[in-house]
Symmetry: none
Amino acid sequence: MTNKVELYDTTLRDGTQQEGISLSVEDKLAITERLDQLGIDVIEGGYAGANPKDDEYFQRVQSLDLKHAQIAAFGNTRRANVDAANDPTLKALLDTNAPVVTLVGKSSEYQVKDVLQTSLEENLAMIADSVTYLKEQGRRVFFDAEHFFDGFKMNAEYATQALRVAMDAGAERLILCDTNGGTLPSEVADIVKRIMEDLGDDAVIGIHSHNDTDTAVASAIAAVEAGAFQVQGCINGYGERTGNANMVSVIGNLNLKMGVEAISKEQLETLTEVSNFVSERVNRSPDQFQPFVGSSAFSHKGGLHAAATQKSAQAYQHIEPSLVGNSNDVVISELSGRGNIVHRIKEMGLADDLDDAAARQIVQHVKDQESKGFSYEGANASFDLVLRRALPNYEAPFELVDFMVVIENRRRSSFGTGWRKDGAEHPMLSEATVKVRVGEEIMHTAAEGDGPVGALDGALRKGLVDAYPELSAIRLTDYKVRVVNEGVGTGAAVRVVIESADGKDVWYTVGASTNILEASWLALTDSFEWWLFQNGVAGK
Amino acid sequence: MTNKVELYDTTLRDGTQQEGISLSVEDKLAITERLDQLGIDVIEGGYAGANPKDDEYFQRVQSLDLKHAQIAAFGNTRRANVDAANDPTLKALLDTNAPVVTLVGKSSEYQVKDVLQTSLEENLAMIADSVTYLKEQGRRVFFDAEHFFDGFKMNAEYATQALRVAMDAGAERLILCDTNGGTLPSEVADIVKRIMEDLGDDAVIGIHSHNDTDTAVASAIAAVEAGAFQVQGCINGYGERTGNANMVSVIGNLNLKMGVEAISKEQLETLTEVSNFVSERVNRSPDQFQPFVGSSAFSHKGGLHAAATQKSAQAYQHIEPSLVGNSNDVVISELSGRGNIVHRIKEMGLADDLDDAAARQIVQHVKDQESKGFSYEGANASFDLVLRRALPNYEAPFELVDFMVVIENRRRSSFGTGWRKDGAEHPMLSEATVKVRVGEEIMHTAAEGDGPVGALDGALRKGLVDAYPELSAIRLTDYKVRVVNEGVGTGAAVRVVIESADGKDVWYTVGASTNILEASWLALTDSFEWWLFQNGVAGK
């Protein structure tokens, strides 16, 4: 196994092939800077000449002050029966001015014949000519052998020949791509070994794996164990279909499990932050359960392990979470006790105001709340407010006086012409009135919404906006409801968890009640209240 | 490599250790039945004696008519310095009546000394005594060697000895657990091989891996490649922290990549459906990008591949998606396929009235409904009603005219003495009025409830009880809500699924709307309507 690995990130190209992911040029530039700081060696920025966005990216990225990373542009080998110097894709690749060009070409007999529909010889010429031409123009050239593993299984000789042709023409890297993601890690390792034996010491091998068999990270590291030098992947495992090898996990494994210093210790400590940053930029909720960096990656729910974890933290975590900038926030639940609450009090810097007696009272309060259906497990912001509200001088930034919600579904009135004239069959109306005290003032507002919670949200914002105009930054990004004491149907307590975001943070609040609207109201007001403290708008 | 693998599912035990997952007894029983149909060999149902829910599960699961699976109860080896026959955990394990008992015990020197705080010898005695005692009581015993890999790396001899002691006492399976998830697949394979050489042919090895290094599935299959017989995992990769090995992916790889017929071809075709079913039950959105079964697992966003895919579908998909019940369409759900609809029409005996043209219309209707946020996967009763309502002579047993709900939270009136005199701080009031047509009559009723859905339920029952007194047998036993198009906060569509029971049947209905009360109303009325047909009270 090599003791140095080259990290090649394709979040900006293959990552954006995943359904629902779209990045602006600004997003791409911001991610480029973060990947550079993280210590990524090569950043694949996009397709050359395929769309105006990528063209603009390649122009603008030249003025970034990157410390370490090189930018790669991605494109096909020349077309069949065309001179390399006249090929539009190769021209577009040169126009990017990217120092690295990653040429993707065929290495599978089936692909050449049935998809490309050209001869095996012409395909080899396409590879050789394209590499040679780009080298002559002063670029570093990497060769992505598309469908390599399937091609190798079908015709190993031809697949190997495609690599050899690229290498002989001057390609610095030969990347074996498992394009449809169907090859298992043990087979990847085996084929990498055979290729390295065949091609000898001059061949520098890379691996590009997809997660279709749920083993993309394993295939990437199996290739490294077998001698590959370059690993391609995407932050958070984004990428076409089920995604590419998760670069975050690859880095974690290389640095902390395999003794390869892929990035520095200091860079590794930013891994969680970079993962969250990219997830914000692609507009996806961070995956709570993501290995190494997820907010639940080091948490324990109790049962068998709760007691043991306190006895010896390392027993149930495979690494010290701070190594990757994560923490082992213990999940709050009735199974966890005073130790966790004291720990969080310290983290929040409230230890001077909340002594042991206060902590005991908080434990009791949390237990009472949990018996009513609250759960602070997935609601860090509401939990922080529980602690804050225990402070001797706590002052709420606002306070509920009243609310009322009316939801109507009126087909027609039994009397006269009906209350709505638009003739809609089942119009739904949701209207809320809210009275809140802010300082000495009582704000009494009303709003309609798509539903009752939207109406409450609207009316509450109207009531608070004069005192706290900054609140308009908050978006409610998810809303979950669950019945807590099962088996009682609509009479049971319901728990509402709201996810909120402001473009910078994501936080979770909880409410519980037998009344779904009261539960929603509690979670909603916690969200606003937490944000006001967190951002220094209220209290301190 | 073995050509038969035993599938041991722990979704109901380790799966529920993941943050945010909570299953009712009904959920657990329903999942048990689906896992049995899928072909899972052993289903770990829960902890013995740890909580009333699991105890109830183990009692009730005995009356399920399982075709294939055996139920396992999970619990610790006896305590230190206690006689096995007097140990409360072993007693609880026996009380479950589960045919398989999975004993978890220590095999790591560090864990024995520092966490268990007993001697190495006593730990071996705890294992041996517990296995022997449970065998004497007629149970099959599996031994989960907790922290096995870490233990082996620290003291291979002791770790192996713990396994040997269990085997000699009669444990039928020795499961190597990577409890903190920190071991990479190549190391798992290596250690499995060494253990099998050490213990000889009588040892039947299992693997229990976690996803902390993003390689749980790879570790599971690496162990099988090395000779392990049993694989433990959870549906959809649920489980403590970052989750367990994803059983869905494990099955896909075993059956389609490794030539092991872990389940039958027909069972494999239900894999997507089972994955979605379990995700519905744990109230999580199905993972769109999940290998094999995700709705985007075989979709192509374009770029390089779009044209190629049309030239040759197999080029960019590693398996034919229908093998696992998935498709490379824009998948809505498997129920929206015409084949399933025709199948269900036949099952319901409606084939004389619903021809192919009707089936096509139903497909379209289901797709329209799904685009609004409905999902019939977890709502069999609502799906049956979709078919029934397509009948030419369908007559609804009742019909909504209007409803209105008022929810108030009044501290005091600004005028006069206030509207309530009991001095309650924050009384919540939920009142509904409902107008329904039953036959030619319009019933106009009102009721209060614990919350708005309870109030609607109460008012609707009052309106229907004269015509259908039998309805009083129906109880609403669970209520689940989820935001469907996430990222839009309170403006997003919500899906409500209601579970109802009458002491004989349990059925599920769905409603979706941007308004949670409209969604609830739709699910509620479906529940009553379905029951009236099912019990021959309405229609035929």
